[in-house]
Amino acid sequence: MLHLILFSVFGLVCVAGAVNLLLQRHPINSALSLVVVMGSLAVEFLLLGAEFVAAIQVIVYAGAVMVLLIMLLNAGVEEQTSGSRVAWLLGIPAVLAGMVIVCWALLERSDAGRAAIGALPGHPADIAQLLFHQFLLPFEVTSILVLIAIMGAVVLAARPESVERTKKEG
């Protein structure tokens, strides 16, 4: 019962944040409601027992990624355009229909079982066992990916004149 109450409360907060993200006009409001979504998702992870995932959800997503996003948001007021009509006429009904079908199939036709609080405890030690033995190669590959991403971000975000200056000095 406690599990259901906690799941419903934070699930509703989550969906409300996601809908608010869509309804807000200014990106800063969308960004703050995205923080709400990520925070309540961390609680949902915690309910399923994924402690490590909940912690990095708060640290990486609600912390780092959102700071990056909000840092950019002083770009000023934008003019509004209506966008493509195809997205409204075909996209939204398609998304709604797909969501309804998936939800119906999940609720009526699936046997996913039930979960108690902390159904699968994901302690950092167990995750690390798996990460540094079975998934060692993918882990190292992601380190290369992150390195390339850092260099790419620096190159892309550098001001053109500073690039010229470095070329002259070098």
Partner: protein
Amino acid sequence: MVPLSYYLVLSGILFACGVTGFLIKRNIITIFMSIELMLNGVNLSFVAFAARWQQLSGQVFVFFVMVVAAAEAAVGLAIIIAVFRTRETLNVDQVNLLKL
């Protein structure tokens, strides 16, 4: 005890919200946030299936998804900065030419 399908439905709703935002929003940063929303929905279903099959690999996959999402955020925001510097707009309808 909560049926795991509730978690999957929640993740489906989040994913649908992300797709909707991707389709109807015109600000490039909001579109970016919609993508993050979709990734979060997928992460929730990863964790739910990990609990269903009692396999920790699902949670390790969430870790990898987060790493890739962080890398994507860094590069994507750098691209957004570059676009804003050359065109002085963040509206995707104004960014319709590859060449200036």
